[in-house]
Symmetry: C2
């Protein structure tokens, strides 16, 4: 009935008034094609419920627990004191005279301000970022990679990692029809990739991670995907997310070498999303940067393979998402192309300078002899220790739930468990309802828990997952997992009985 | 000789090594097409010279004066104390207990933090921005526009104004061939517009501002441009920059009404770039927002014309470019399209939250009864007063130079004077040198003054301009203008004698 009134009103409106210039019919179809589930309909609904709760609406729960997005501070993580001291000092330099700030924070702030036009955070920086911050990043990378040389000329500050990823992809997209650029991405993936590919009308080439093998990247699958794609596009880039989002795996050194060899052979540009490089929890796993492995493969590789690596202030132990800090290091870029990249970045003028300052602290933390050293490392250890504990707890509890199968959360901030098949799937599908979406929607409505359906990240056909962060506090995460277990059991009883997964 | 070695090296490299995946040949042609003169080759050269000076290189000057970009703090403008206090308090909330911060700054900071997830600037905000900041912006707009209603649901925080402008344009670009979207922009324009249009492969429709009439927008010229463009594309948007960049004019109310009537008739989406709304210097001029004029034209207009208006923390009296703060208000957007816009914005997660906080101070400054009121307004008046003085001085001195003609700088931060024709133009052109570029390059090399050639903004064929900011301190600006005068006279003597402009 309401629909009828609305559509009548619309007709009425259109008759009486000027037509709209921008409608769903005239909207850029590439914008329409974009999907971004991390902030999709479930999350919108969660916001509505949250506002309802505040206004006294009744729900079978008292708070919404948002485990949909890697937003640490929103889930209660406290900022690293030293980082915020440096940002505050840069923002209001009068504080440099205050005795309540430690000398090492002041020294960092003075150095950053020295690098800013007019010594102000309010000046535009150069398009690539503040020089001294780029230099600090290069030093950090050299230390991280045990002496592999890093040139600050290859460093670009970005607005979060997303900005860098989109800029590099934008450079690589060209051609029409069968010569259109193809971009290889893992499935499951972080939906920034698919969204950017849609928007740029590039060709998305899926390579599937091996769920049965802790979401490892299988080199044979890369070959398969590449060969199949060659028939209809020009594969030019391979994207890797390590540690994995949403899958939480940490890639082995051997596997990285295989990927790099493959990229070398097939002349692919490599984009390695390494924003979770500090988030490794499994004692058996270690973070290996793509750059270091490339170096160890010898100069024939290190001096030729085009590699862009991305980092961010948003993840790791700092979790500073709101500052939109990040950087990329780009190796072996053709010199003329590099000038084009700088030109492209210059149109957006510069990344937020306070985000650049935050990035500087992450790559240039207090040294053992400095006054903030102990507190900084205590805070860092506390965050990473709690995450490791929660990673383990999440896997353990989820695997006690009948019909849920969860790989170890080796790194990053997410679990991506599989919900085993239930008979209702075909029924739901015949009604036009995505089983994944319906599961998450009912979970939200009945328990207040907000997760993201697996379909938003991609999954093998006929499998169903969800992504949840491990970011709620330990107590809250435990409650979440128990509520989820109860809901899942109830859901299975109500809708279907268990089946063996089809493979 | 060097070229030969280089090209030999290149051949050698290509023979020995893997080819590059990304070269000028395989680069996205849309990226190649982008031009952004504000940070173009002259500015790169200025940076090189600056570094050379620091390293003791000899030049006929001791410092580079950068009048190429609207970067107030880099030119010595001091931040507004209250704004920085609020940002520092938000960044390091321990300062809320400090007695050295005024209560009104603390109240602003507490309110902003209350609106952030986990009360931290480090959380992602909603894609549209922090709710309470959007509410403050709506209140500000209502006050600015003397009671014209503003709905905070129509407000979107952005990463500087550029981000908003690019997002709206992205929505509006569609179609192929003759139905491809056309975007009407003023000439001269701010090159973000032409860069975004190139990148999106939209059709740029030039309407020329009337230099003989203080760069006013002539409605007949709009009709001309529109009719001509209709032959080969689908004109869908009109962009207006008011006050003008690079042209410094302030549009009359009558002219705005004409533009809005035209947009109404021709079903165009209106984008009004109003980032200089606080920068009006001529006593005869007044800023009229497009929204207020639309309202006064009656509900038939106010309830139908799609209008996006942009503002920023980077200009005005605060000049906080580095924070990348900004907002847009979008009226009469189709509801489904609005959801698409929010989706598109959600892919970049959120604008920098410290930039959002800075924006909040600009729309919610201290009130008369609050402790920071006097200082805030003293600082604001000082900045705007100095700019008004420099605007007048720039026009006056430039118009004493033979062969230079400069319109009044009614607003914004720039003069865009014309260099009258000289006989060498055809000689230079036959050598493949742009006279504009050559002029600015020699000016830089001989005097250290960095300006942007008029060609970077667009100008009528056969006319030659440059853009200079009025941002250097009064003393430095005077030196700059005198050096420029001497250079211009010498240049004219050396290259050519004056001619009458051809019209």
């Amino acid at each position: 009935f309401i629909t009828i009134i609305n559509s009548q009103n619309k007709t009425l409106r259109n008759t009486l008034m000027r037509e709209k210039s921008l409608t769903m019919d005239t909207l850029n179809p590439q914008v329409k094609a974009v999907e971004y589930a991390v902030r999709g309909p479930i999350v919108t609904k969660a916001g509505d419920i949250e506002r309802g709760l505040q206004q006294g609406q009744k729900h079978p729960f008292t708070e919404v627990i948002k485990a949909n997005i890697g937003d640490s501070h929103a889930m209660g993580q406290k900022p690293i004191t030293f980082l915020r001291q440096v940002v505050a000092l840069c923002s209001f330099p009068e504080l440099l005279d205050s005795s309540s700030f430690p000398e090492d924070a002041k020294q960092r702030a003075r150095r950053i301000l020295q690098g800013c036009g007019g010594q102000s955070l309010g000046s535009y920086s150069a398009s690539q970022g503040v020089d001294c911050i780029r230099q600090d990043i290069a030093v950090y990378i050299e230390q991280r990679d045990k002496g592999v040389p890093a040139d600050w000329d290859n460093i670009y500050l970005t607005t979060g990692a997303s900005d860098g990823i989109v800029s590099i992809l934008k450079m690589l997209v060209s051609g029409q029809g069968r010569s259109r650029s193809g971009v290889m991405i893992p499935i499951p993936q972080y939906p920034l990739y698919s969204a950017a590919i849609s928007e740029m009308e590039a060709v998305q080439i899926n390579y599937y991670l091996d769920e049965d093998n802790c979401w490892a990247l299988d080199i044979n699958e890369l070959h398969r995907a590449y060969q199949a794609a060659k028939e209809h596009c020009h594969p030019r880039v391979i994207c890797i997310i390590n540690p994995g989002n949403p899958t939480g795996q940490v890639q082995s050194r051997k596997c990285i070498e295989e990927v790099l060899h493959f990229a070398y052979e097939e002349n692919l540009f490599v984009m390695s999303d390494e924003v979770y490089q500090d988030n490794v929890y499994s004692p058996d796993c270690q973070f290996h940067s793509f750059k270091k492995v490339l170096y160890e493969m010898g100069p024939e590789y290190f001096n030729t393979v085009e590699l862009a690596s991305f980092h961010s202030t948003s993840k790791g132990y700092s979790g500073e998402c709101g500052f939109r800090g990040g950087y990329m290091e780009v190796l072996n870029l053709d010199l003329e192309v590099k000038a084009q990249l700088v030109k492209l970045l210059s149109v957006r003028l510069c990344p937020p300078v306070s985000g650049q300052a935050a990035m500087d602290v992450i790559v240039n933390p207090p040294l053992p002899h400095e006054p903030s050293y102990l507190q900084f490392h205590k805070e860092k250890r506390a965050v990473l220790g709690a995450l490791a504990e929660k990673a383990q707890m999440t896997e353990q509890i989820l695997n006690t739930v009948p019909g849920i199968k969860c790989n170890p959360v080796q790194g990053a901030m997410y679990a991506f468990p599989q919900k085993l098949f239930f008979k209702c799937v075909s029924l739901l599908q015949s009604l036009g309802i995505s089983p994944d979406m319906m599961y998450c929607l009912r979970l939200l409505e009945e328990t207040g828990i907000c997760l993201v359906p697996g379909s938003g990240f991609g999954q093998r056909e006929g499998t169903y997952h969800f992504r949840m962060t491990i970011l709620p506090t330990t107590e809250k995460l435990k409650v979440l997992l128990e509520k989820l277990r109860d809901f899942h059991i109830k859901f299975l009883k109500e809708y279907a009985s268990l089946e063996e997964p089809k493979r």
